[in-house]
Amino acid sequence: MTMQRRSEHIPFLLPALLVTAVVVLYPALQTVWLSLHHFVLFDPDNIRFVGLGNFADILLRDELFWISLGNSLVWVVAAVGLQFLLGLVTALLLNQTFWGRSVARALVVVPWALPSVIIGLMWTWMYDLNLGVFNDMLLRAGLIDAPVAWLAQPSTALGAVILALVWQGFPFFTVMILAGLQTIPATHYEAAAMDGATRWQMLRYITLPALREVIATALLLRMIWVANSLDVILVMTGGGPGYTTHTLPLYAFLKAYSGMEFGYASALSLLMTLLLLVVVATYVRRVARSALA
């Protein structure tokens, strides 16, 4: 390709690049600028450059950052892992032929379509100590002797919020995997059946390898989204009890919108972005590779 031909496409890309610069690059650069400043929204006369001071404070002196980072890791691994498993099982079921399959396929996306705030409120009341349906069912089934304060106990709060997020997010995996399943030729299974393969062997040696690309892409995307999400936690526990469900995005949010410390909150966000860049880079590399293939 000559230099002239190589540059021909630039005018076509320019509008998209301009929009990206305005809505992505500018806010990102502003976040970097803010992170290097003492910037408190209600103290506009005292904005000053502090260099890497915010980062040093976070990494060396802020115990809550490390607690939030630990919670975030548990949050991402557990939520995405369980969403994937539930999504895979549901997709395999919905790929079978049964009466009402179309309706079931449509209904399964309902949690994904609901706003996160609604999901947070709904699950908060389902977990409620006195009025919640979970305690009522477990009491009636004789599995517990007394109602459990699911969201107020450190031993159950994070798990309870993760479960709500699993319910919200598994349809994404279901839809992605179901689409992937449609692309596997039936002849593969017929041949395997003739060779005497069990259902588990078909799953292990045909289905999962064929879905590898879809699963990897879905996992990477979902990890980025879940790592960034805070709405369900904010509604259900606000990070409590204590710091039990306090994750990094929630910490940055509270620093910005409760403490109004936008400089510190930007530094927290940037650190989180750096951690996520590992996942993002993997995703981008995969997408680029498949585009070139």
């Binding site: 107020a152 990070g239 009890p241």
Partner: protein, 405 residues
């Protein structure tokens, strides 16, 4: 009269109605931000009444999501910093200090002195709204005083009277704390500092430097935390319970007492009838008490180009009948003395409990750190103390550190 003077007067006489018409065509617009708990409530009728009485002024009332205070104030601060703030807005005392630091507030003393409704607002209300520099930046709009709700049926069954002191409270609480009923619906989530304040600030803690870590303050906090950890008088969900939970648990008979204000009285009575009543929060060992004064005012912003018109609208809302009408849909109390005389929006026993509580009412410090204290620091530290993750003393040290380093 000289010819030139005559011409000038004539021109002025001709131009005067035209100027009037120009003004009539371009009325001053006042942008006002407000938040109501009930999204169905609308100030449209009051706006129409005001505009009829003030033909040159239009009010653009903008409902801003409250979001526990975070949403509202973040938007307000951001709008003010960006130079796109409203002319006036509903504001609370807890944010006055931050707004002053931003130099966002217009002093209203001059306009208030000329306002005919000034004397209809009680002197102690004016005093409570005064800023640290002695000036008035807020025009009171509504208020509540927190008191103790109690279930008359559960108290009668246990043979106890509503408490007047901390000792009474503990005795009564231990008596009603049976089976599924927890004695006190404690609010450990956002906004719960009001519950804590009644017992810990009422027990001797203060926000002055060192005031959270005096022996008396530490003892008061230990006593309060132990109501939950040792005596088990709070529901297990207390660490994260918010407004909805404490009200619903009380209505469902899961708790026998809780602390809130008259804003929830009608809902309580609708569910419980005569089985609910209220008294002032109990007094501490030294005969003093503390209860939260919940305020809401209007402020006019320094950057406004329509300050006089904005004040006219704000003062309209704080005037007798208009203020009663305003509070009819916020469920709180009128700041107007003449309006209070004909108040009939709540059952009398709750109005009486409010009146009896005014001697105890206090406010959180007018400090830039107060808002973060109520929204983040207090809930986190309180929850950790209730769960045994930190000691009650460590909780008080964290609060002391937040305010005084």
């Amino acid at each position: 009269m000289k010819r030139r003077t005559l011409m000038t007067y004539s021109a002025a006489a001709i131009a005067a109605p035209m100027i009037g018409r120009v003004q009539a065509q371009a009325p001053t617009t006042v942008r006002w931000w407000y938040h109501f708990d009930n999204p169905q409530a609308s100030p449209a009728e009051l706006v129409a009444k005001f505009e009829k009485e003030n033909p040159g002024v239009k009010v653009q009332a903008e409902s801003i999501p409250w979001g526990g205070g975070n949403d509202y104030y973040t938007r307000l601060y951001a709008a003010l910093v960006a130079g796109n703030g409203p002319d006036c807005a509903m504001v609370k005392l807890g944010n006055q200090s931050r707004l002053l630091q931003m130099k966002a507030l217009e002093p209203l003393d001059g306009m208030i002195d000329k306002w005919s409704g000034k004397s209809d607002i009680a002197p102690n209300l004016w005093k409570m709204h005064q800023a640290n520099d002695g000036k008035a930046y807020y025009l009171p709009l509504q208020y509540v005083v927190l008191y103790l709700y109690y279930r008359t049926d559960l108290f009668q069954a246990a043979g106890v009277q509503p408490p007047r002191t901390f000792d009474d409270f503990l005795k009564a609480a231990l008596a009603v704390n049976k089976g599924d009923v927890a004695a006190f619906g404690m609010r450990g989530g956002g906004g719960g500092h009001d519950h804590w304040g009644s017992f810990v600030l009422g027990g001797g803690a203060t926000f002055d430097s060192g005031g959270m870590v005096t022996p008396k303050a530490l003892a008061a906090n230990r006593w309060f935390v132990e109501l939950g950890t040792r005596h088990k008088l709070f529901p297990a969900s207390a660490p994260t319970d918010g407004f909805r939970q404490i009200v619903d648990n009380f209505k469902a008979g899961r708790t026998a007492m809780t602390i809130h204000h008259i804003g929830s009285a009608n809902e309580m009575v609708q569910a419980l009838g005569d089985k609910v009543s209220a008294v002032p929060v109990p007094m501490g060992p030294d005969g003093k008490g503390w209860t939260s004064f919940g305020d809401e005012s209007n402020a006019v912003f320094a950057a406004s180009k329509a300050k006089e018109a904005a004040f006219r609208w704000a003062s309209f809302l704080s005037s007798a009948d208009n203020n009663v009408a305003f509070n009819a849909f916020t469920g709180q109390l009128t700041v107007s003395t003449s309006g209070a005389a004909k108040w009939n929006l709540h059952p009398k026993r709750f109005v009486d409990a409010t009146a009896a509580s005014t001697g105890l009412m206090g406010t959180l410090p007018n400090d830039t750190k107060t808002a973060d204290f109520t929204r983040t620091v207090w809930p986190q530290q309180m929850q950790r103390a209730l769960l045994g993750q930190i000691t009650p003393d460590a909780m008080m040290q964290a609060i002391e550190k937040h305010f005084h380093g």
